[in-house]
């Protein structure tokens, strides 16, 4: 693994106060989501007399249409949203890295066909097809993860491909090839570790996209299904009460915005840190 690059990431992360803020905020969200069970309220316990309360001392985010504590529900929703975002990213990274390295490493007709395929996927109305596939298949978290992953890996594949192209001419890769190491080992042992930072950056930005996708699909009712709920699916039910209890719409949306924002900021800062001629490329 490239130590120097990693140290660069760490330095950039702590030097850039926005990146640090985003990072800390995400960690806080993650911990809050993981420890949601500590909340004194049961996220599924209905209490009709308490329904649609505005935020107050007892219910920080108020209550929903069934009188459930909204803060607790938002925390549990965070679990689903973050998990779907993360898992979709994994799917996208696995596909994207495989396609990208294979395409870049072998070149020739393999590269041609794969990149052609990427192009096709990028020029179809993917959002509509995602909606459609979710409706056709059994909607649910697994379906959602696979579908989002499958429609968002193209950008990663392109970046990974171009990195692979530049790295495969390096001596250690040439040496590995010349010493008879199999292509599979060369790719996994020599190429992927060297482009890991790039993959991580692309992955970070991909989580942002995935969370947005998930929330849109769930908002339309074609993503996360009952009894699970994500921020997106909470908004689906909240929109009916926007007149009388707009806080139900406010909180989950804000959290989506903040989470996505954090991932975007983080990804961007890291990307700038890696680009050789970054923001401070001023000449003398």
């Amino acid at each position: 693994m490239n130590k120097r690059k990693w140290n660069g990431v760490k330095r950039e992360l702590f030097k850039n106060k926005y990146a640090l803020m985003a990072f800390v905020l995400l960690i806080v969200f993650l911990i809050a989501a993981l420890f949601a069970f500590l909340s004194p309220f049961d996220p599924n316990k209905m209490s009709i007399i308490d329904k649609l309360q505005s935020p107050n001392g007892k219910h920080l985010f108020g209550t929903d249409e069934y009188g459930r504590d909204y803060f607790t529900r938002v925390l549990y929703g965070a679990r689903v949203s973050l998990a779907v975002g993360f898992l979709s990213m994994i799917v996208a990274v696995v596909i994207g890295t495989t396609v990208g390295t294979v395409s870049g490493y072998f070149g020739g007709w393999i590269d041609n066909i794969l990149m052609r395929f990427v192009e096709v996927l990028m020029s179809i109305p993917s959002f509509f097809l995602m909606l459609l596939l979710n409706a056709y298949m059994k909607p649910g978290i697994t379906t959602l993860v696979l579908i989002i992953g499958f429609f968002t890996w193209m950008e990663i594949a392109r970046i990974v491909r171009s990195e692979t192209l530049s790295i495969k001419e390096r001596e250690y890769v040439m040496y590995a090839k010349a010493s008879g190491q199999s292509s599979f080992l060369t790719i996994t042992k020599h190429i992927i570790p060297n482009i890991a930072p790039t993959i991580i950056i692309a992955g970070t930005l991909n989580i942002a996209t995935a969370i947005l996708m998930e929330s849109s699909l769930s908002f339309l009712g074609l993503g996360v299904q009952q009894p699970n709920s994500s921020w997106g699916s909470m908004l689906n039910s909240a929109q009916g009460y926007i007149g009388e209890a707009w806080h139900l719409t406010l909180f989950p949306g804000f959290l989506i915005l903040f989470t996505v924002l954090c991932f975007n900021v983080l990804g961007d800062v890291l990307r700038v840190a890696f680009e050789p001629k970054g923001a401070n490329g001023e000449k003398k």
């Binding site: 509509f128 908002f219 707009w246 915005l257 924002l261």
Partner: protein
């Protein structure tokens, strides 16, 4: 230049072919008898059988595809399972609403993003730049539907300034009324693009300002304003056309969700409702139409770019 355009056209053909296969499979794999989508209420069982024959549904699958393609190319998209109306009619009557919305949002994006991008570039690293950049980050991170809901809450429910749904007030038929209905959805659809364009224009302006020709312009006594508007602007605007082409997927994808939030009677809303009602012929048609829209949009952007950029125009 003709060569460039021809090449782009040829590139689009295999893409259209693949998409047509996807659309065809969509219909083939749909549960139920595909003949349903061609049955009109006034047909008796004999008619249906004849229809099946005439559609070639008893033939091998590749023949079915060819027949299907023939139908599509001659404008026969079948009938909606739900409304029993010809799908093509349903699509055509929705196109103006969607194109209008997209056009308005594109226009809005450009009007805001171009000056903003250039100003932030000139005022790099000032407070103004930072604030604009922050908003750009919000723009690419905000869920469009939620932004729409918030706008509805503020401008329709609280302030009562703008309508929250539909395209017309029943009984009125003025263009002003349509525009009023369109403000919120167009804003929502534009927000993300504004951010993307602004960031792009900013960085491209910064790059241009570093170019030698800018220095030379100053050295020949040109004012900052002159350099910016008469020299940099041109160089910045050319690639914006490509960016517009690249953002068409966003626009198409965004239209589905924005139209749903605002009940805007366009193709997007039709698409989403047809998914919920499993109206396969309509779904198939929407898939085809939005793909064609995407491909055409990119094609037009490519061609426009090669027309306006002298470096490309004079080469081919």
């Amino acid at each position: 230049m003709k060569k460039v355009i021809l090449k782009r056209f040829l590139n689009a053909i295999p893409l259209l072919f693949i998409i047509s296969i996807i659309a065809f499979l969509l219909i083939k794999l749909a549960p139920g008898d595909p003949i349903q989508s061609f049955v009109t209420p006034d047909m008796n069982p004999d008619d249906v059988e004849r229809m099946r024959k005439s559609l070639g549904l008893d033939q091998p699958i590749y023949m079915q595809y060819i027949l299907w393609l023939q139908n599509i190319l001659t404008g026969n998209f079948g009938y909606s399972i739900i409304t029993k109306r010809p799908v093509l009619d349903m699509i055509i009557e929705r196109i103006p609403a969607t194109l209008g919305l997209m056009g308005a949002s594109l226009l809005l994006s450009l009007i805001i993003a171009i000056p903003l991008g250039m100003i932030t570039a000139v005022k790099k690293n000032t407070i103004f730049d930072r604030i604009a950049n922050f908003f750009a980050y919000i723009g690419i991170s905000i869920p469009g539907f939620w932004f729409g809901l918030m706008l509805i809450y503020v401008f329709s429910l609280q302030l009562g300034l703008l309508p929250s749904m539909g395209m017309r007030t029943v009984g009125t038929d003025s263009i002003w009324d349509v525009m009023k209905h369109g403000i919120l959805p167009a804003t929502v659809l534009a927000f993300q693009n504004i951010s993307v364009y602004m960031r792009y224009i900013r960085s491209s302006t910064i790059r241009q300002l570093d170019e030698d020709y800018v220095q030379i312009q100053y050295a020949y006594g040109a004012s900052k304003r002159h350099v910016l508007f008469n020299h940099v602007l041109r160089n910045v605007l050319l690639p914006v056309i490509t960016i517009i082409g690249l953002s068409i997927p966003n626009l198409v994808g965004g239209a589905f969700i924005t139209e749903t939030v605002f009940s805007w009677p366009g193709l997007g809303l039709l698409g989403v409702t047809s998914i919920f009602s499993f109206d396969y012929p309509v779904i198939m048609a929407i898939t085809l139409f939005s793909s064609v829209m995407l491909i055409l949009g990119n094609l037009i952007a490519d061609i426009l770019y090669s027309v306006v950029d002298p470096r490309i125009r004079l080469r081919g």
